[in-house]
């Protein structure tokens, strides 16, 4: 996954603004995917999909706003100061195909897989980029995805691993 299509597209970009606009595009696509899915799933788990769409929207807004600023470099260097911790999650190692009527666990596993892939992608981009503003930006993007993934994992544990008393 890290070496996928998005990787090449991003790798080719050299300006911070360009990278951000590609990343923003990814978020938009994801948001549209979830918004579309929300209409399909049963109402009882719709909140999950809606929240995922909202989160992608938030990223979309954040990246768009960032790319419009004059002082991108300063902003990015400040943002990467506090990276989120990364881990791997077992149950989502294989990404399920989302059918027409996915249940909550499938939605969560899908979203986790997607965030995980994005995170890895940005991480490896950062590693293959020399130190500087661009590396900082990749690290920032990786961090954003990591944070989201962490939130999802917590949710996953609460919903699926309720322990069963």
């Amino acid at each position: 996954m890290p070496e996928g299509k998005g990787y090449k597209k991003l790798k080719a970009q050299t300006s911070l603004a360009d990278i951000l606009s590609v990343a923003t595009e990814f978020e938009r696509t994801a948001r549209d995917f979830y918004s579309d899915l929300a209409g399909k799933v049963s109402k009882n788990i719709r909140y999950l999909v809606e929240e995922l769409a909202e989160e992608e929207q938030r990223h979309f807004d954040l990246f768009s706003e960032l790319s419009r600023r004059k002082d991108i470099e300063d902003q990015v260097s400040q943002l990467v100061d506090t990276p989120a911790s990364n881990g791997k999650f077992s149950d989502c190692i294989h990404l399920p195909e989302l059918g027409d009527k996915p249940d909550d666990q499938e939605v969560l596993q899908f979203a986790l897989g997607r965030e995980h892939a994005a995170m890895e992608q940005y991480h490896s981009l950062a590693e293959s980029t020399p130190a500087g503003p661009i590396q900082d930006l990749f690290r920032f993007l990786a961090d954003e995805e990591t944070q989201h993934k962490n939130e999802l994992e917590k949710l996953y544990y609460e919903i699926v691993h309720s322990g069963g008393v």
């Binding site: 399920p96 499938e106 069963g164």
Partner: protein, 602 residues
């Protein structure tokens, strides 16, 4: 009269040449002795506001008062002792009886004040200069005015209990129960914590008095599942018990059980009494578990016509189909259910709503409907291989065992999960293995480390005693299947940590520590969910939801005015919480369908 006796008194003159023995400045030069019973101190970090000091004070000098900034919580009444030094005699019984050791005395004994009201104060809250005094009376070590040690519950030995599904816990005898009940200080923190707000100190007092009929009446005032809760309640009351601070908490659950065992079964119905005359209103209840049957009991006792629909052949819900018989015998459940049904409740077994009868039908036929369907479906890890036929869900297996179905116990098996359900299935299957193969091979893996298992410590202890091999901190990765398609085992990785520094779920694994646990069967016991398909698409869309669960208001009513929901399906798994929810919806429904009666009985 001798001359000596005339002269001798003049020896008193020698005192002229002696130094005075008085202390010139006693206010400053004469501190109280190290154990002096001086002014009170109260450690706010330790005080739980249990009020035992107030109870023992023979002068009535102590009042428990609300204090600004100290809120009531499960383990703390939020009240603090206010002491009136116009009444206090400094006997220190309050210090001696203090359940947490928070109340002590300084060796300070001087307090000059012109305002007499100032001598009523709340130690620890109203700051005093002796608050940090090192000296003064503390209860000496090793002496106690209330019992500290819990009566040991007689139980079957591990070697004996693994042979069968016989109940493990044998119950207190009268002597033991009295001793255990004697330890209670009746602070009432348990009442506040119990979801059903059972009158714990009152029924414990009934045990002390040996008045079991009174005890039973108190039990069934708040809990129609008293026999069941007396065995399998999660007993959160015991986690807040004042006695736990310097000893063992009172065995509240076992005392409840003791009462139910002491009253002959044929006396129950007469003690509880008859329901009210019919009101002409009707209520349908879906699911004969703790929530549904509690609501049925309450509503029937108020005179409403109650009909319960149960998909399975017996009532009891998860208490019957989820909890193994060695923890809760079926005949106990049956007696409890018969008692509830005797209040005039109609029940239809083997009737599944959604397929046999629709929700729309119920909406039309009844004044109110309660959804109490519980969490009947097991969750799956959905790891690779988990779709194999040899991978089972714990709740399904437990249900089949309860139904008396023959289950071929595998020679070896792995259970995934660290909760009580995981323990239940591991121990049940161990018994079947023992019966069918004469030996036990059950491995239990869980993501959590042993200290963070969701299961009760007793369950873990007993599982280990019965030979269950518990491997903590193992993350399931794959169910291994050989070339012939047979399940051969479970692959796990070592979990390095399961939570991050903020305490959020964020597992990290050591992939190099990979283990294959050989097994012919893998059982997933990681969690459960509700089967809400019975609602149908149209009703599902109409209802408001709250993060995957049906949204209810504080009374248990859903966004549909005719439909209430209660129990595990809305509040998560717990018997006594379900009982509490059952009471709540019953009260709410009664107020809605029979407003005049509800008002006069409010």
């Amino acid at each position: 009269m001798s001359i000596r006796n005339i002269l001798s008194p003049f020896t008193a003159w020698k005192y002229l040449f002696r130094d005075p023995v008085t202390i010139p400045d006693p206010l400053n030069d004469r501190p109280g002795s190290p154990r002096y019973r001086g002014f009170h101190k109260n450690d706010m970090k330790k005080c739980i506001g249990c009020g035992t000091c107030e109870a023992i004070c023979q002068n009535g000098a102590i009042d428990m008062v609300a204090v600004e900034g100290i809120d009531a919580s499960k383990e703390d009444s939020g009240l603090r002792p206010n002491i009136d030094y116009g009444r206090c005699c400094w006997c220190a019984l309050c210090v001696d009886v203090c359940m947490t050791g928070s109340l002590t005395m300084s060796n300070e004994y001087k307090w000059v004040e012109s305002n007499p009201d100032a001598f009523r104060f709340t130690p620890g809250v109203d700051k005093k200069h002796w608050d940090n005094a090192a000296l003064g009376y503390h209860r000496p070590d090793g002496y106690q005015l209330t019992g500290r040690v819990r009566e040991q519950m007689p139980e079957l030995e591990p070697a004996k209990r693994i042979e069968s599904f016989d109940e493990i816990v044998q119950g207190y005898d009268v002597e033991q129960a009295k001793l255990e009940a004697d330890r209670c200080v009746a602070c009432g923190l348990c009442i506040a914590t119990c979801p059903a707000h059972m009158a714990v100190p009152d029924y414990i007092a009934a045990v002390r008095d040996g008045d079991y009929e009174r005890g039973l009446k108190i039990l069934y005032d708040t809990n129609p599942f008293s026999q069941i809760c007396g065995r399998v309640c999660t007993h959160r009351c015991e986690t807040v018990c004042a006695a736990r601070h310097e000893g063992d908490p009172i065995a509240i659950r076992w005392l409840k059980r003791h009462i139910t065992e002491q009253v002959p079964r044929d006396r129950y119905r007469a003690i509880i009494g008859d329901p009210a005359p019919p009101t002409g209103k009707s209520v349908a209840i879906i699911g004969a578990g703790p929530a549904g049957m509690t609501a049925a009991y309450d509503l029937a006792r108020k005179g409403h016509a109650v009909t319960v629909y149960e998909a399975l052949p017996h009532a009891g819900g998860m208490t019957r189909y989820g909890i193994p018989e060695y923890r809760l015998p079926y005949e106990t459940i049956q007696h409890e259910m018969d008692l509830i049904l005797s209040m005039g409740v109609t029940i239809h077994y083997d009737t599944r709503i959604g397929s046999d009868i629709t929700m729309q039908q119920l909406e039309q036929d009844f004044d109110a409907v309660i959804l109490a369907i519980g969490l009947q479906m097991g969750r799956s890890t959905r790891i690779p291989g988990s779709e194999h036929a040899g991978v089972k869900k714990a709740v399904d297996l437990l249900r089949r065992i309860t139904e008396g179905e023959h289950i071929d116990a595998p020679k070896s098996m792995v259970v995934i999960g660290g909760g009580n359900v995981a323990m239940d299935i591991a121990r049940s299957m161990a018994r079947l293995q023992k019966q069918q193969h004469g030996s036990i091979d059950v491995t239990l893996t869980a993501l959590e480390d042993l200290n963070h298992f969701l299961a009760d410590p007793d369950e873990i202890k007993e599982s280990l005693e019965e030979g269950v091999n518990i491997l903590d901190s193992r993350g399931p990765q794959q169910c291994q299947v050989d070339a012939e398609g047979n399940l051969t085992g479970l692959k796990t990785w070592k979990v390095l940590s399961i939570f991050d520094q903020q305490g959020r779920f964020a597992p990290s694994f050591d992939e190099t520590d990979e283990q294959i646990h050989p097994a012919e069967m893998v059982v997933e016991a990681i969690g459960q969910m509700s089967d809400v398909n019975l609602l149908g698409e149209e009703l599902t869309e109409r209802l408001e939801w709250n993060r995957g669960r049906i949204q209810i208001d504080t009374n248990g009513r859903t966004s549909e005015s005719w439909l209430w929901a209660a129990g595990d399906c809305v509040t998560g798994p717990d018997v006594v919480s379900a009982v509490a929810a059952g009471h709540q919806v019953a009260k709410s429904i009664d107020a809605v369908i029979n407003p005049v009666e509800a008002l006069t009985h409010a």
